[in-house]
């Protein structure tokens, strides 16, 4: 066997703390006690040297690959000597953890457990998923897919989807018919005196669950038959709302199983119901494809991003975007994504919204490589819709047309479209504000420059005036000079008339 060079000893191996007595170069007391036969010098096959060789070989063999568990059988072929003795040494080393002591050798399942798919964090506070209440069909979220990228418009996992309403409808409410022992889903008839409940069918059939019960003993309790809205009914409702607007009679007719009031209440319950009824204005191309329930449950990761954007860009409800006002969030806890998108789009203006929708859809289509025509419902460029509250019908018209056109689209695509449009609208808004900021900046710069110029000008004026003064003074001084000169001359004349010599200068005069 190749000798272990000392570099191997510099590697770190794990041994239990109680085995820290172990030394390569020496045989410890513990070992001596355990293997007296080696140290009693009673045989030639059992000597300290032999023991040390056995021990070192086994340990080194283990350390060649600490991840595998060393078996006695695998090493006994390497060593000459009584196999029982070898096994004793082996077991000794094993017991003291000098071999076969590594975390990987434990039989834990934790090491091999697969990490669950990462679930991204929940939605911002203002957005929540609402399942439509009282929906008969269990609302299933699209399969959770681990998605790390938010780039592009990908369908992220609906991680914080919670069917809040299913919690409410707990088995406490599950009523079994007293007679046929089936669930009374919708309406049920409750006996006045006892707690017997009958489902509708049984009531109609006259099975009153007991001889003594008569028809009059039962009263209709709980949700009316109209309260349970299936998906189809909701869809129908929305369609008819768009078609008929305010005409509830017609709507009730088209949604055949529900009464007028039911329709109204249902619509109000829907997240954007009020909106559809015209409480806010403007075309909402983005709202349209989300009319079916699936999209109501959509939450996107983009929302968080959106949220922050919205917070930054929110403005007053009235008037054009104020420059620096940061108003309270539109996104209070009540509104859903759709509503916010709608508000944003309404702020931005119809043409912008259209453009945003167009661009978003174009990008989407490029990505999904499906023809743009499926989105094409013709009325995108129609910008005759004004912002006022009226003209709801045309709104509905256009929306309906659009919706009709978009009917055939897969839900996912519509979701994508709506999200994309929302983002587009938000982006447009951002751009507008950015432009404003820029203009403002330019303005201010201009003012500053102006001021500087004025300063310079006044300085110049000042200097001019100084100059004038200087000139004046110069003249005066000149005059003075002349006078002095004249006086001098007259003095000289006097001097000359009186016959003073040329050499007479003032030094003589005392």
């Amino acid at each position: 066997m190749e000798a272990i060079d000392s570099s191997a000893e510099l590697e770190l191996y794990t041994i239990p703390a109680q085995s820290s007595w172990f030394l390569w170069d020496d045989i410890h007391e513990i070992e001596r006690r355990e293997f007296e036969e080696f140290f009693s010098e009673s045989s030639i096959t059992r000597t300290p040297k032999v023991y040390k060789e056995y021990r070192d070989f086994i340990i080194n063999k283990f350390r060649e690959d600490t991840s595998r568990s060393l078996t006695f059988t695998s090493i006994r072929k390497f060593l000459v000597g009584d196999v029982n003795l070898l096994q004793k040494v082996f077991l000794f080393l094993d017991k003291w953890g000098l071999i076969n002591f590594a975390p990987s050798l434990n039989d834990n399942d934790t090491l091999s457990s697969v990490d669950n798919a990462k679930i991204e964090q929940g939605t911002p506070a203002g957005i929540r998923v609402t399942a439509t209440p009282n929906s008969l069909r269990p609302i299933t979220a699209p399969p959770l897919v681990e998605q790390r990228t938010v780039s592009g418009i990908k369908l992220p996992p609906l991680t914080s989807y919670s069917d809040v309403f299913s919690d409410l409808k707990k088995p406490d409410d599950v009523l079994l018919c007293g007679h046929c022992a089936e669930r009374c889903d919708s309406a049920f008839y409750q006996h006045n005196k006892s707690i017997v409940n009958l489902c509708e069918k049984c009531f109609k059939n006259g099975n009153y669950g007991g001889e003594t019960n008569a028809a009059g003993d039962f009263k209709l309790v709980g949700d009316s038959a109209a309260a349970v809205w299936t998906e189809e009914e909701t869809l129908l409702l929305l369609e008819s709302v768009l078609k008929h607007g305010d005409d509830w009679e017609l709507i009730a007719q088209s949604v055949s199983t529900k009464t007028r009031l039911d329709c109204i209440s249902k619509l109000i319950e829907l997240p954007f119901g009020e909106f559809l009824m015209g409480s806010t204005s403007g075309r909402l191309s983005s709202a349209v494809p989300t009319e079916d329930e699936d999209t109501e449950q959509v939450k996107t990761d983009g929302q968080e991003h959106e949220e922050t954007e919205m917070r930054e860009e929110n403005e007053d409800e009235d008037g054009p975007p104020a420059k620096r006002k940061r108003v309270a969030l539109i996104s209070d806890s009540d509104s859903s994504l759709v509503k916010q998108v709608a508000t944003m789009a309404s702020k931005v203006g119809p043409s912008v919204a259209t453009a945003a929708a167009k661009a978003a859809i174009a990008a989407l289509c490029d990505e999904a490589s499906c023809p743009k025509e499926i989105f094409d419902t013709g009325d995108y460029t129609d910008s005759t819709v004004d912002r006022a509250d009226g003209d709801k019908d045309t709104d509905m018209e256009e929306q309906k047309e659009e919706k009709d056109g978009a009917q055939g689209l897969p839900v996912a695509l519509r979701i994508k479209a709506s999200v994309a449009t929302a983002l587009g609208a938000a982006a447009a808004q951002a751009k507008i504000l950015a432009d404003q900021e820029e203009r403002e900046m330019e303005d201010l710069a201009a003012t500053v420059i102006d001021q500087q110029l004025k300063k310079v000008q006044s300085k110049l004026k000042f200097l001019d005036q100084l100059e004038l003064i200087m000139d004046a003074e110069e003249e005066v001084i000149e005059g003075g000079k002349e006078t002095i000169l004249q006086e001098r001359i007259s003095v000289l004349q006097c001097a000359f008339r009186s016959g003073v010599t040329k050499r007479w200068d003032h030094t003589y005069v005392k």
Partner: protein
């Protein structure tokens, strides 16, 4: 009568199986009325003798053998036990005796070939433990393999122990009057032991040389049913 010896040569001990448990290997091969009963197991010689009959009866009942087998089984066991006991009174040579033990046995579908060294002087040796470890390390699933291996080891040990008794007797006779230890000759007499002095000397290493590795490596083969049948047929042919 103890022979003089230098260090390393122990005095003879009374005959016994040189294992931790003094168990006798018993082999049975009885044919009667067209049926053949082959078995091999270990027996504790300190068990009372009536246990033999009890065992025979139980075996016949379990294996649904004709009742004629009972007496035959009991007789066979008894005779082997008495053979064993015959040796018990005598001296056994004990010295450094490391012998190679070979395994070459087939148990149901498992074929085992192995060779390893065994120290006859090590009265703490345990064939059962060894067999257990072997099966565990090699992942042998057949639970019959372990006991079969242990039995094979024991049988060989038994053989050698008997031989050592004989050789001890011989050496005693031949060593009359001779001084000095001669354990080398005694060990050589058995012809099986290894040259211990050379092997465990200061200069050499106890790590086996590469060329010998294959010999001492256990080999486990799993046979298919056809192979098993073929082998069995061959064995029977050899037996006759």
């Amino acid at each position: 009568m103890k022979a003089l010896g230098s260090s390393g040569w122990k005095g003879p001990v009374k005959f016994r199986m040189p294992t931790a448990e003094n168990l006798v290997p018993i082999r049975l091969d009885i044919q009667s009325e067209g049926q053949r009963y082959k078995d091999a197991f270990t027996w504790n010689p300190s068990d009372p003798d009536n246990e033999v009959v009890v065992f025979a009866k139980r075996t016949v009942k379990d294996l649904k053998l004709p009742s004629a087998f009972i007496t035959q089984i009991a007789q066979s066991i008894q005779s082997q036990l008495s053979d064993f006991r015959a040796f018990e009174g005598q001296d056994m040579y004990t010295g450094e005796k490391i012998i190679p033990i070979k395994l070459d046995l087939r148990v149901n579908h498992t074929l085992i070939k192995d060779q390893f060294l065994w120290d006859l002087n090590n009265f703490e040796s345990d064939p059962e433990e060894f067999a257990r470890t072997l099966c565990k390390d090699l992942g042998v699933e057949d639970p019959e393999v372990g006991p079969a291996v242990a039995f094979a080891i024991r049988e060989q040990l038994y053989e050698i122990a008997i031989q050592s008794v004989a050789s001890a007797r011989e050496s005693r006779l031949s060593k009359k009057g001779r001084r000095g230890s001669d354990h080398g000759s005694a060990s050589k007499a058995s012809g099986l032991s290894m040259d211990l002095v050379k092997l465990f000397s200061f200069k050499s290493s106890v790590v086996r040389k590469r060329k010998d590795l294959d010999v001492y490596e256990p080999v486990v083969d799993l046979l298919t049913s056809e192979e098993v049948d073929a082998l069995e047929a061959r064995e029977e042919r050899h037996a006759r």
